[in-house]
Symmetry: C2
Subunit: 339 residues, 2 copies
């Protein structure tokens, strides 16, 4: 029989090898990994379980022929980023993979990127599925967060500050340069390309934000569009200082319009955007020094009382942006818009 299982069987050998050693490191939580009908986890009674699924499709989320190692990294990173946004610690993940064919080189590279990320966050592969089809990667990640400590989108309160981690817009700046939407010199592109291909999930930050942040999410579709989700869930209005959005030196060196557009609406940043009471500023400034730069970009101004939340944008001088500029910056990336 074995020989007849052919390529299908071959694929899991790549993933088995990488997952077995890691499952050992997590064996308190992973009772059974790859190779049965289901994986089995041993939950902790004092912890909630966070669950998230993301699907990446060739031609939509990445170019055809994209570097397989980056893909493996990114496919897991975007899911871990969702765990980070809840303040959860990774426990394990499943992988469902459709492939046009079983190319050993591709699989070796993909699994290298995937398992490096998995190893970094001690998040073993616990199960999944492979099939033939257009290249599609679906990962479901599971994490633990102490009961009641999960950071939801719905907790933002009037008077809270709005914060964002790291810098925004580099992934969009790089994408636009690769698509010839705007010029960018090679050396600049090289400096920021990793932000597009190998995003770093802010797991350590998310865990530190438990008990500090009142709401959080990860910035995947563009800051302003994503912030809207917090405003809707929390039923509040907000004000953002558009020129306070943290950017890399490379993005800061671009035109004002391009800088604002990429930072406000870029997508693929995988930074955390969160709210916190003003009483937490000292704690957050300390985290900003010790862990990862954190920037205050605005505040929650009032309750929306069930109406559609309003989000007001101000420039560096504190002046309101005009309506056309505001509208342009609020165009969130939509997977069903042509772009």
């Amino acid at each position: 029989m074995e020989a007849k299982l052919g390529e299908f069987d071959l694929i899991w050998r790549f993933f088995n090898a990488g997952s077995e050693s890691m499952a050992q490191t997590q064996k308190n939580q992973v009772l059974l990994g790859i190779g049965d009908d289901c994986a089995l986890l041993q939950p902790h009674a004092t912890q909630s379980l966070a669950v998230t699924s993301d699907m990446l499709v060739e031609g939509r989320h990445f170019f055809a022929g994209a570097n397989a190692e980056w893909l493996g990294h990114k496919a897991l990173a975007v899911n871990l980023s969702d765990l980070a946004a809840m303040g959860a610690k990774p426990v394990g993940f499943t992988l469902a993979l459709a492939l046009p064919n079983a190319n050993a080189d591709w699989l070796a590279q993909f699994s290298q990127g995937l398992f490096r990320m998995a190893q970094q966050w001690q998040c073993p592969l616990i199960g999944g599925d492979t099939t033939q089809g257009p290249l599609t990667i679906c990962i479901t990640a599971l994490g633990h967060v102490p009961g009641g400590d999960a950071i939801k989108r719905s907790g933002a309160k009037v008077g809270d500050d709005i914060w964002v981690s790291g810098t925004l817009g580099d992934a969009r700046l790089a994408l636009g340069a690769l698509r010839s939407e705007w010029p960018l010199d090679h050396s600049s592109l090289e400096t920021i390309l990793h932000r597009m291909h190998e995003p770093e999930p802010r797991i350590a930050l998310g865990m530190q934000l438990r008990g500090i942040a009142s709401s959080a999410l990860d910035v995947s579709d563009g800051l302003l569009g994503d912030l809207r989700h917090i405003l809707k869930a929390s039923q509040v209005n907000a004000e953002v200082l558009i020129d306070q959005l943290p950017t890399s030196r490379t993005l800061a060196a671009q035109t004002e319009q391009l800088r604002r557009q990429c930072a406000a609406n870029g997508g693929d940043d995988y930074e955390l955007c969160f709210t916190a009471p003003t009483s937490k500023r000292i704690a957050l400034e300390s985290l900003s020094t010790s862990l990862l730069p954190l920037t205050r970009i605005g505040s929650i101004t009032s309750a929306s009382n069930g109406a559609e939340p309003t989000l007001i944008l101000r420039d560096a001088s504190g002046n309101l942006l005009n309506a056309a500029e505001t509208m342009r910056l609020m165009q969130s990336f939509d997977h069903f818009k042509s772009n």
Copy 2:
């Protein structure tokens, strides 16, 4: 903003509606459903969590243009079938869906099939992802099983009986008829078509088999190929009485060759194949009367002692099948073989 979210947003409205009422019914376990970065579950300290992911791809697992209601049913059913095979009770599922476009009729039908199955087993949709791409459905299902009671593939012991639930081969018989691999009259096809399109996960049986079955799996790729997984995991050899495989009247009325081929190697059956000590025969015969027909089809004959397991096939008279027939019947469905 709302209007601009467009079709992407529209899609989740279909799924939100179906999931919210159900999440209520499970609110002891589901702390947070759709609409945040992650879903949150409250695990029970005494239960293990079973996790399984399956991906269905158009043109591979279903025909282009397939009935969307059946698809919704089947996509969840195949995952619940994996939970059943572990003896787990469904808790919830995530859905990642790639769609070429957001067709409201298709979405209405798909979600109807999906939520009817979800309702039947009290398994709410807790999160997921939608994107544009070739039609691909990836579901991750989560279930609970009392600590230590999960039925693994690795527990089969020498002397155990091998059992299978329901009947085998109808899905393959129907598929072959639709593909004109063999003739089948319309009335027969109509009788068995639901086995291909709307498989019933054996959740109730799986839960009853806790403490009875020594090993189990669900038959998705064909009985003999799947039974091999039990033999490998348990390091045992087995004997199967090929003409004892339970079949519908429709399949029983076909030629011996077709009947054997579909039953032994059909795929898409979603019955449970399991082993149990002979001391459990009375309990299983009672279950067979009260819940679902169960048939004894063979036995675990010896330990394989680390070698590749052997699986011997006998006919109705107890004679060994010849090598060519054995080989033919053992050709398991492989997602990377052309077929």
